[in-house]
Symmetry: C2
Subunit: 325 residues, 2 copies
Amino acid sequence: MASIRDVARLAQVSPATVSRVMNGTANVDEEKKKRVLKAIEETGFVPNEVARSLFKRSAKLIGLIMPSIENPFFTQLAGAIERTADKHGYRLVLCNTGSVIEKEKAAIQMLVSMNADGIILTSSNDEIRNYTSLCNIPIIVTDRSFNGCGNLKIVHCDHYQGGRMAMEHLIRCGCKSIVCIKGQQEISSAKDRYDGYKDVCQEKGIKEQTVDCAYDFEQGMKVTDELLKKYKDVDGIIACNDMVAVSVYKVLHNKGIRVPEQVQIIGFDDIALAKLMSPELTTISQPIDEIGAKAAELIILKGEETQQEYIFEAKLVERETTRHN
Amino acid sequence: MASIRDVARLAQVSPATVSRVMNGTANVDEEKKKRVLKAIEETGFVPNEVARSLFKRSAKLIGLIMPSIENPFFTQLAGAIERTADKHGYRLVLCNTGSVIEKEKAAIQMLVSMNADGIILTSSNDEIRNYTSLCNIPIIVTDRSFNGCGNLKIVHCDHYQGGRMAMEHLIRCGCKSIVCIKGQQEISSAKDRYDGYKDVCQEKGIKEQTVDCAYDFEQGMKVTDELLKKYKDVDGIIACNDMVAVSVYKVLHNKGIRVPEQVQIIGFDDIALAKLMSPELTTISQPIDEIGAKAAELIILKGEETQQEYIFEAKLVERETTRHN
């Protein structure tokens, strides 16, 4: 087991400097800081949490690293995190990183140097499982799942179950030709949703019908056009999220295809917009407020919660774009 | 004229400590920092920019202080700022403060201690004109206007002109009974929009018809209900922003009132959603990308721009919720 002295020796600095980098209690020369972080990574040094907490003063600050500030799901999640932080007298600082590894690492370093109490991270890349070696404050990953999460804690919704529910609902609503718009499969939540759809297809002996799409309005419109050409008898569409579902509706509406009479639509997330559309969107709801609150509490309540993974159930919300007979 | 020594004497610290607080180059004890900031405010000390810039190392960091992360206008603005920052190798850090003065002040202090190159601020409160005394980095105020802006620079759209355009457009479209949904009048942009509407009424001898509303979906629905009871012959509605326009449409749609045949609607902002609604929303467009880019450039190009106020023109975007004969 590596000690703080091993790290200091490798980084060619004093143990006190290693400690300063870890605690973010004072400014350390950028060059030295880099060497220390590298040495921590190389030695696999895990500091004594208790000893550390004796020295570290809480800044009452939570850092949130998000992939996109222009996706309403993430801003609603940020709102939920902030309300919980506020209740406990914590501030929230946001960094928008587009899931770019270098930006995420820079954001983590910055948040550590600000003496943040913890970081809530949402990202589509897989490198994040190594991020705990970059810092010594808790990292809570939201909206995705993976095996072997190391020191990370994970808070997410059961996307697989949600994917199953979406497919089962459209079948119950009488759809005979259902197309699943798959999100980017490198995002675990998108993959889980698709896996749910796929398994229901297999169990019921239904042939898969899919198209690929990013979480984006413009792409959603383009993909819907393609989908209508590829699957001419489509009567049910599972959108990878609500943003894409809005695009699907728009294209169908423009073409004079009636929803839900001719084609039924189901989304995923239950963002505020789902209820504001006319017709209102049937969707698989993620408990966004609960996910945000739990992620914030895991930082604020410092170690009182020992579970590694928190999974919330998805819920079907029937509105006007499907019709359950 | 107060000197750095006057500030130091009043705060009972050394001039070097005053300098450290101003430059955010090293951690200073919280208690001392507060005393220094108070002394800077009390003495009205304005440091020598040139001297300061010799010492200060750029962190290539822009701080953005926003009133609401759940309002798509602000997140689109944040997206625009970030794209410009990114192009120049700057990072962006966001603080969501709900226009609460204490939170805004804390965010400014934090950003200064992070050695940010400048702050972009959007807020509805009037206290912000005093914020330049809290720090010595540029503060760029977006989306509002006021007289006597001191050291602040201001980047905004001509909301008054936009308010006029909205009213003039509905008149051209044949509306005989136009209701203006006023935003919160303590927000200068909301007041400017309303003033534009009001002046057109006066010039044309039209009686004002208004209701009050916050920038919020739920409130928008409630206010629309009230509006329909209060002004039974309404055939044109000016919404204080696009979010509220979406709510207005929803309520009309639910009541079976046809848009634009029976009632025409015009919004303000031109958020992404305006184009995604069915019918698409006619609105007064703010050049969100240009406003964000200009605000970021004012920080990045450090003093190369000397203008105090940058005003962009609003633009009418005709879509499907109005019908120009």
